[in-house]
């Protein structure tokens, strides 16, 4: 086993950390308060190559892989988990185009997505629910040489800032009588792509989440990704391995934020004439934050290392996502307790971390869905 990051991954971490400390940390509270997604920062990250790690060099990326992507998401989420999910979601259109796209689609979209010229999003969830993916109400009918799409999507991250969205639709019923789902690559300016209501979220407020109202949106055959009827497989694989490992990196960033903020407070705050760190009760809390951070780190980077090696990692990603998002909530709660009265004052960021952590639980599949994935695999294969 090799638990070391490569020299390039370490350099990347230092580079993103410096960027995050200067460009994200000073503004994160204000973005949260104003419910503002800083598109300009995402663009800047694109220029630095931070959005193109999973894109090979031949398509304008750097090919550093999924571990590098998780390093970036962790460092961003250390200060702003909201921005972290906006950055994470971007890959949910990059990965499927890379894995299932035609050469023409790859050449058309990947170079611009890798550099942040285009921002990406994935629209699969509908008012009827996200976990019941198969029950899509958005339809695509083939008429006069065009696909005509109608329907409504909700809880879509980057819904208003994404230049390119992967849209999941129902295109019919297959020979087994099951819904046939097809994914389309849709550009924002396409007539009929309606940007709807924006959600006022509890946390992750530096990302924008809302509805898409799709009305008579027409696209050609070239917009179909991976072929007719492949949509379910594409979206499930993308959410399962790319989305969930990304969500685990967001949780990891929040846990580290709690660990570092709690430690800083405990070292500076004096009680009975001595720093809080002298108190064993405080040491216990710091120890738990540290331990859950280290567990989360191992789970996340194990999943991404498998992904980089081309090994299936949906179960590992689910475990990392389940652990880290739940542990982030507990770390934030624990850190608020550590800080006493100061913990509930919004001058300190930990209250925001708690709201962010709670908001990560339902994103990319709830904890119960993660348990179904893990449990199912365990019963079958362990």
């Amino acid at each position: 086993m090799d638990f070391k990051f490569s020299e390039e991954q370490e350099m990347l971490r230092r580079a993103v950390r410096e960027f995050a400390e200067k460009e994200i940390a000073p503004h994160a509270a204000e973005w949260d308060e104003k419910d503002y997604c800083p598109v300009e920062v995402i663009k800047e990250m694109g220029e630095l190559g931070f959005l193109g790690t999973i894109v090979p060099e031949e398509y304008g990326g750097t090919g550093m892989g999924y571990t590098a992507r998780a390093v970036i998401i962790e460092e961003v989420s250390r200060y702003s988990a909201g921005l972290g999910i906006a950055v994470m979601t971007h890959s949910l259109v990059v990965a499927p185009i890379l894995n299932y796209g035609t050469e023409e689609q790859k050449k058309k979209y990947l170079p611009k997505l890798a550099t942040g010229e285009y921002i990406g999003g994935l629209a699969s969830t509908e008012p009827s629910g996200g976990s019941d993916l198969v029950n899509q109400q958005t339809t695509a009918e083939f008429k006069d040489g065009k696909w005509v799409i109608n329907g409504k999507k909700c809880f879509i991250t980057n819904y208003d800032i994404a230049d390119v969205t992967l849209l999941l639709t129902k295109t019919g019923v297959n020979e087994k009588g099951r819904p046939e789902l097809t994914a389309f690559i849709v550009k924002k300016e396409t007539p009929g792509f309606g940007i709807g209501h924006k959600e006022d979220k509890l946390g992750l407020r530096s990302s924008s989440t809302g509805d898409l109202n799709i009305t008579d949106l027409k696209v050609g055959e070239e917009a179909v990704l991976g072929g007719r009827g492949e949509g379910q497989k594409i979206v499930l694989a993308t959410i399962g391995e790319v989305g969930r490992s990304g969500m685990s990196a967001i949780g990891l960033g929040i846990i580290r934020g709690c660990l570092e903020e709690g430690l800083k407070f405990a070292k500076e705050r004096e009680l009975y004439g001595k720093p809080l760190t002298n108190l064993q009760a405080i040491q216990f809390m710091i120890a738990e934050n540290r331990m859950y951070y280290e567990i989360g780190k191992l789970l996340t980077y194990r999943a991404t290392t498998l992904k980089d090696e081309g090994v299936r990692c949906d179960v590992e990603s689910s475990m990392a996502k389940l652990h880290n998002t739940e542990a982030a909530v507990k770390a934030a709660q624990r850190t608020i307790e550590l800080m006493g009265g100061y913990g509930v004052i919004n001058q300190y960021p930990v209250g925001r971390y708690l709201r962010d952590a709670m908001s990560t639980i339902s994103a990319g599949g709830t904890s119960q869905i993660m348990e179904i994935v893990i449990g199912g695999d365990t019963i079958k294969n362990f």
Binding site: M11, L12, R14, A15, E47, L48, F50, T62
Partner: protein, 267 residues
């Protein structure tokens, strides 16, 4: 245009509260404090890369530090430098600014010639500002320090901060430039730079790799001896000034005048 850039690893200024003084041994204890590229050197490197981008040529980093400083030099390569030399040997240890500048100058001479030597005006830890001009003396190159702005073409126009103002110079290389932090905003390191740094080399230079007089390097070559290191008593004494706002203002001015902060004729 070949540019040598001097880079020093220093304890991260973010952690200065963790540095303490060992009064018995007369040294700073900095164990466990992360090391970063000296902040002003980063501005020097940025300027060196900008000169290269405008005028062509190459940027070569020189640093005298332990082997583990290689990561910082790699970051410099990722920013856009082409090559790096890390002067690392126990024989170099314990050097004051004289021995440091001699050793760096000898390495620069060996791997030169260079048209320009760029450095930060001072280091965040020692803060002597002596090394860049001393390197210039060893190499018989003129030097300018306190540089806050530069323009480059056939000749270099350079603006230097001095105590009571700013002096403008026009110089032609070879020359040593020591820059201040306000000169530019260093670029962030991007992934393309990191990937490019993979194929760039950090060469570790031991004492036998350069032609040096052993009496001029390390502790032997360092005439500077720290006499005593003390922690100054900076205990503060409060004074309450009462009266009308005007009287309070007068009292504050008087206090500042007594302390020498306000001199005659300033107000």
């Amino acid at each position: 245009m070949r540019i040598a850039c001097l880079v020093k690893p220093v304890p991260d200024p973010e952690y200065y509260n963790r540095i303490s003084i060992d009064p018995v041994r007369g040294i700073l204890t900095r164990a466990g404090i992360p090391v970063v590229m000296n902040p002003t050197d980063r501005h020097a490197l940025e300027e060196a890369i900008r000169i290269k981008e405008k005028m062509g040529g190459e940027v070569v980093i020189f640093s005298m530090a332990p082997d583990d400083a290689g990561g910082i030099l790699k970051d410099g390569l990722a920013m856009g430098a082409d090559e790096a030399y890390l002067l690392s040997d126990r024989a170099f240890a314990g050097a004051d600014t004289l021995a440091t500048s001699y050793t760096l100058a000898k390495a620069i001479e060996q791997f030169g010639p260079f048209d320009i030597i760029l450095a930060g005006n001072e280091s965040a830890d020692g803060s002597t500002s002596q090394v860049p001009p001393q390197v210039g003396v060893w190499l018989s190159m003129p030097s300018l320090a306190g540089i806050i702005r530069m323009e480059y073409g056939e000749s270099f126009r350079v603006w230097c901060d001095v105590e009571e103002g700013r002096v403008e110079y026009e110089v032609t290389p070879p020359v040593v430039f020591a820059v201040k932090r306000g000169i530019n905003t260093p670029r962030y390191i991007g992934i393309k730079g990191i990937m490019a740094a993979k194929s760039k080399k950090v060469s570790i230079i031991r004492v036998g790799d350069i032609s040096v007089d052993l009496d001029r390097i390390g502790l032997n070559g360092s005439p500077t001896r720290a006499g005593r290191i003390v922690v100054p008593d900076i205990g503060r004494k409060g004074e309450t000034i009462t009266g009308s706002p005007g009287e309070i203002a007068e009292g504050i001015i008087e206090g500042l005048r007594k302390a020498g902060v306000i001199k005659e004729g300033m107000i």
